[in-house]
Subunit: 337 residues, 2 copies
Amino acid sequence: MPDHNQPVNRRWTLTARPQGLPKRSDFTYATVPVEVLQDGQVLVRTHYISLDPAMRGWMNDARSYIPPVELGEVMRAGAVGEVVSTRNPRFREGDHVAGMFGMQDYAVTDGSGVQTVDAGLAPLPLFLSALGMPGMTAYFGLLDVGAPQPGQTVVVSAASGAVGALVGQIARIKGCRAVGLAGGPEKCAYVHDTLGFDAVVDYKAEDVGRALSAHCPDGIDVYFDNVGGAILDAALARLARHARVVICGAISQYNSSAVEGPKNYLSLLVQHARMEGFVVFDYASRYAEGMQAMAGWLKDGLVKSREDIVDGLETFPETLLKLFSGENFGKLCIKSV
Amino acid sequence: MPDHNQPVNRRWTLTARPQGLPKRSDFTYATVPVEVLQDGQVLVRTHYISLDPAMRGWMNDARSYIPPVELGEVMRAGAVGEVVSTRNPRFREGDHVAGMFGMQDYAVTDGSGVQTVDAGLAPLPLFLSALGMPGMTAYFGLLDVGAPQPGQTVVVSAASGAVGALVGQIARIKGCRAVGLAGGPEKCAYVHDTLGFDAVVDYKAEDVGRALSAHCPDGIDVYFDNVGGAILDAALARLARHARVVICGAISQYNSSAVEGPKNYLSLLVQHARMEGFVVFDYASRYAEGMQAMAGWLKDGLVKSREDIVDGLETFPETLLKLFSGENFGKLCIKSV
């Protein structure tokens, strides 16, 4: 057994199932001793912890693509950090690693699902955005599920968000027109001027249907949906023949007790179009391909990534809400150290 | 110009856009002289006229896969009949033909979209069912859009209807399990005992969700939807991984002013599944393949077809309603001669 003083761990556990928007009282914040490592285990100090819309789904007691977070369990979250102690030969002290380390300062893991990352390649928070789950989500969701062809029109909602921003930039790399939806002038300017989308719709200020019609005169070939609700319906009404609708998320619906179904789904029939969902974990065997592509595009300046980093693990419940109010600007994460 | 006494034509024109269920006063029934043939035209006497759920959509003034029926125009309908006079070298007097001849005794056509049919192959009404649009819809919708694999579970709604009955039978020919939904004990017995589906759910008497769970213990691989609404939602909640949902129609929604969207569409995300629509006309270039397959299966007794034939063109508005009440039993058509 390694001889060192065990550090203490601040952590957030889920202690009630949220109704609607999650609130501070649904969680418990506590300081506990770090467990002593068993053979095969690794102790990771988290540096940046990811906040993702999907976390809302994990809080529900419902069948899904992964089991829900149990009451009393540390809130599940992706994170990037550093190995501080190891009894697993796959890892060395000082390794930078990414994995589902949870909303806490220290994680003890057997290493399953943990990736060693090259901290020389990019700043650590990028392993939670372009070089992490959002990057893989955008890459495989757009290219594999959406299958855009050069010259086609790709529309993406939440276009200034972690996934949406990458979807539009990859679409342009592949020779497509990229049209983004974002909320407010600052985010819209970022999407158009900084990220280089061909057009942007301010869903808070414009008539979304009319704006999409104006920006997509030949219809929408690929619609990459992160939001659901009225925006999904507006896109469905404007599909081109053989369009693909990629269902990546539905942030407008995650805090509702009753999901609003897409009323315009019969556009799929009229346009011989398809709507297809996916979960990034389905592509785990191909992450190396996605990482290599994203790293190359970042290096060449073809893809830009923006992080919205909030200081302090203790802010978790309020920081999480920024996702649902649209207040975050770029990939939201907590700096825990 | 041919020398014959011009017959008179009884016909139904659309004269008001229906609100909700179509009613007799939305149409006008009149007897008019048959037009004199111009060069290149053909005069067809309709014998059997098809009644299809899609007709409801054609009555709306809305953008769709084909233009709406204009007010004052003969109500669009598929039909099979006989050439009684021709000034078009593609056709001879006495030829049996199928086409969009409309809800009338006589149609004058330039022959576009008109198929000559072999009346020795099958009774004429079959060219409106297994050997007509419903046959092509089932064949291409299931095999091309649904892409079922042997051993998989195929669920179809409106399973005693023109399309649904064929979908389940083709699924079985392809080595799948077929589960049908139908309304009432008589239709359910027909689907199970006569058509040979593996299981049937009486949606009027059973809890559809529970019954689907019982009959599809490994989930639904292909759901072929003709109805929309609550049954579509029950199927979505039970999809297997990588399932395909084929959107063929939504008869439960056609007379509603507001379509009910599928609330469970996020199952597509969780199960990495897809929902895809189609219109049979998209497959026009492959009808020969479909016709050959269907004719072979009919001849070998592998596919059974049932027609619900109503006498008298004058019954059209009331006969049409049988589709929406579920009162028809088999492919609904009007015998017009």
